[in-house]
């Protein structure tokens, strides 16, 4: 059992929790993830480690409530316990290298996930540019934190309520058009966003890493639910990734696979809503 030590509502759809998990906190690295099962009837689902504190023995998770399991997790409070919390899984981000100029891009909830990776790029001596995007101003995450660690920082909103009106790719395209030297682009967010980031950097062959969010069951390489087509090869996101070369990933196939259980997910969420309605 893993106790929730701190909980914060970040915006209307996103929550942050600090979880007591000393074994994981001691060894985890930016880019890795955990598998969570909230209770005995729960499913296992992956969340990227958004931050960690080795001394306090804690892991921070940030998640958007998109269905039954994240709603259930979000309903827990400080002092409640999560039944299963497995990690650190996946390969760490390649943050120990100096590339030169790194552009770290976070979309929606992805901003929280890209944050520790971006910070590690900065600590490795890179010139760090961050692009932080969301649908609307109230959904922007980690704005101040990103600003603090970045050499340059940009904000975009789809509706123009804050920063540049448009997508993260608009800013990225502008930077490329200006002829800026970019040595690595690292993007975390919804699949369409990562797909268009990869498209934007492809012509100039700017190395681009994306962190994929496939459906997972065990998270340790034993089922292949998370398989993705990378450069014509079958890869398991949980053990070979979750980060891959964005120019090699078949994003359309990934999107299809992410929709595999949409009907069941809707049913499960509906039942959860009814249970919650009945309780109050």
């Amino acid at each position: 059992m893993y106790e929730i030590l701190f909980k914060q509502v970040l915006n209307s759809v996103t929550k942050m929790m600090v979880v007591d998990a000393p074994d994981i906190a001691k060894v985890c690295k930016p880019g890795q993830f955990v598998m969570i099962r909230v209770n005995e009837t729960g499913e296992r689902f992956p969340l990227t480690i958004a931050d960690f504190d080795r001394e306090k023995g804690t892991i921070t998770i940030v998640f958007q409530e998109v269905g039954k399991s994240t709603l259930l997790l979000g309903s827990l409070e400080k002092g409640d316990k999560i039944l299963d919390f497995v990690g650190p899984l996946g390969k760490p981000s390649p943050t120990d290298k100096k590339y030169g100029t790194v552009v770290a891009i976070g979309g929606g909830c992805g901003s929280a996930i890209v944050f520790p990776v971006a910070r590690a790029f900065k600590e490795a001596g890179n010139h760090l540019i961050t692009i932080n995007g969301a649908r609307s101003m109230d959904l922007l995450l980690y704005r101040d934190e990103m600003g603090r660690i970045s050499d340059e920082t940009y904000v975009t909103t789809d509706d123009g309520t804050c920063g540049t009106h448009g997508f993260v790719t608009n800013v990225l395209a502008d930077l490329i058009a200006e002829g800026r030297q970019i040595d690595l682009v690292f993007a975390v967010g919804p699949v369409p966003m990562m797909k268009f980031v990869a498209k934007t950097t492809e012509a100039k062959k700017i190395p681009t890493l994306v962190s994929l969010n496939s459906i997972m069951v065990d998270g340790t390489g034993m089922c292949g639910a998370c398989r993705v087509n990378v450069g014509g090869q079958m890869k398991f996101a949980c053990v070979d990734g979750p980060e891959f070369d964005g120019h090699e990933v078949d994003f359309d196939e990934l999107m299809g696979r992410l929709n595999a259980y949409r009907e069941q997910e809707a049913l499960s969420e509906k039942q959860w809503a009814e249970e919650q309605g009945g309780a109050t």
Binding site: D23, I24, K26, V27, R37, T41, G42, E43, R44, K68, S69, L72, L83, D84, F85, V86, G87, P88, L89, V217, D218, T220, G221, M222, C223, G224, A225, R227, V228, N229, M234, V239, D250, E253, G256, R257, N259, A260, Y261, Q264, E265, L267, S268, Q271
Partner: protein, 477 residues
């Protein structure tokens, strides 16, 4: 026919006709293929005694040598005959940590029952059914714990709680070691829990066999991925474990190298069975894990896992389930009993058939599978006749779900994080056959991580050998 040369026929000694095993009651095939309850219902005490009474009580019993964990079959069957069921259970548990499981999933026809002398003329004594009966009896009547020796004061780490790890842990704790099992999943048992379906091996039986081990003093740490949290060398050099046993199995699924493997309704048998068995997706939405099954399913492969996936598909409501296998019925690697059960329940067998492409629609869902007809050629390295495609014989079968059950490879996490550990080109760990020790002193291994995907009982035998090897390595006899 008339006798030759008008001689009178030789008088034959009058012998009773060959006997069959006392039949074990089973759920009706057309009822059970709609539920997840156990198919075989087990012997009653009367049936068990009747079966045990046929045992010849051989002076030099051959059956024991056929058992990979050397259960004292003669003694336990004798105790059944005397209706001393609890004593019989304890006699088995002296050498076999998981009898309720072995009695259900072992291929007895190639093991203990194969050399049975009674079986030369008759069906052999139903040793598996008797083992199952006494262990179920003992569980239901609250079996006592054996007396344990004084603690030796040395810690052993067992990685993986599958059949190999559980057996190794059970044997070591009975010698007096402090044993900790590290398990990556949230439940124990490995393939016993996530792979073999409830209708063949009820999960509460696995749980209670594991609880028995915990009562003996074995500690299990769940959600603990060795290689990620701590490495094997950390456990030995920093955490004070005198030896490590690696029983991490062959859990990485193989896919075919044909187009369409990433379609949305193509699943590895591991994923499909893990969702259903471990996560209880058959009780969705009471349990949160979903599973998808179509109307027409193709299961690729011919082993026990393929049979399990096919029979599970039927129970989830598929209207038509096909086993697609490239060789003929004689070469099916699954146990004869599993094939028989699958046939009874209505699974179709498309033999000498090999998939060449899975075809999908624009949503990535399977709408068909192209196959080619095969014929059998000369035997290959494995001794089985090699399947050869018949040119121009391609055809399409009409399916909407494909489950791939063509075998598993060893999970690479431990080999990748343990420098100095010798691994074969198939990713299996190389060990000394006799002791079970790997290329690293103090690190032992056994089960599927050494042999590649094999059987529950061979993994248990390997766990037992390694426990012996570990004890010897640490100065015991």
């Amino acid at each position: 026919m008339a006798e030759k040369n008008g001689e009178a026929p030789k008088k034959k000694r009058k012998r009773p006709p060959p006997t069959k095993k006392v039949p074990m009651p089973e759920q009706d095939p057309l009822v059970r293929n709609k539920n997840f309850q156990e198919v075989a219902l087990g012997y009653t005490a009367e049936q068990a005694v009747e079966e045990a009474n046929k045992c010849l009580n051989c002076r030099d019993p051959k059956c024991i040598s056929g058992c990979p964990v050397e259960v004292d079959i003669k003694t336990f069957v004798g105790l059944v005959r005397e209706k001393k069921f609890m004593e019989a259970a304890l006699a088995i548990k002296e050498t076999n940590t998981l009898p309720a499981i072995c009695g259900r999933v072992c291929p007895q026809e190639t093991q203990c029952e194969a050399p049975c002398i009674y079986g030369i003329r008759n069906e052999p004594i139903a040793i598996g059914r008797l083992e199952r009966f006494v262990s179920d009896y003992a569980r239901a009547h609250g079996e006592p714990l054996p007396k344990l020796p004084r603690k030796i004061g040395k810690k052993i780490a067992v990685i993986g709680s599958g059949p190999a790890g559980l057996t190794c842990a059970g044997d070591l704790v009975k010698i007096g070691y402090d044993v900790t099992i590290f398990e990556a999943f949230h439940k124990p048992g490995g393939v016993l829990m996530y792979g073999i379906p409830e209708f063949r091996l009820p999960k509460d039986i696995v749980m209670s066999e594991v609880e028995y081990l915990e009562k003996l003093g074995v500690e299990i740490k769940y959600n603990y991925v060795v290689g990620k949290i701590r490495t094997v060398l950390d456990l030995m050099n920093e955490d004070g474990y005198a030896a490590v046993f690696l029983g991490t199995g062959a859990g990485a699924p193989n896919f075919m190298r044909i187009p369409g493997m990433n379609l949305v309704t193509v699943f590895s048998a591991n994923e499909f069975l893990t969702r259903v068995n471990l996560m209880k997706a058959y009780e969705f939405p009471k349990y949160d894990t979903p599973v998808r099954i179509g109307d027409r399913v193709a299961v690729i492969g011919g082993g026990n896992v393929a049979m399990d996936a096919a029979r599970t598909s039927l129970r989830l409501g598929a209207a038509e389930v096909n086993i697609v296998y490239r060789r003929s019925k004689n070469e099916l690697p699954a146990r004869a009993e599993e094939v028989h059960h699958a046939e009874e329940e209505g699974v179709n067998f498309r033999l000498l058939t090999n998939p060449t492409e899975v075809i999908g629609n624009e949503k990535g869902e399977v709408i068909g599978m192209q196959c080619i007809k095969m014929e059998l050629g000369e035997p290959d390295d494995s001794g089985r006749r090699r399947p050869i495609p018949i040119e121009g014989s391609e055809f399409i079968i009409d399916v909407d779900t494909v489950i791939v059950a063509i075998g598993n490879s060893p999970n690479p996490i431990i080999p990748q994080t343990t420098p100095g550990l010798e691994v074969s080109r198939w990713g299996t760990i190389v060990i000394d056959e006799e002791s079970g020790m790997s290329s690293l002193p103090g690190v032992f291994a056994g089960g599927d991580i050494v042999t590649g995907a094999a059987t529950v009982i061979s993994a248990m035998g390997a766990g037992k050998r390694a426990a012996r090897g570990i004890h010897k390595y640490l100065g015991g006899e």
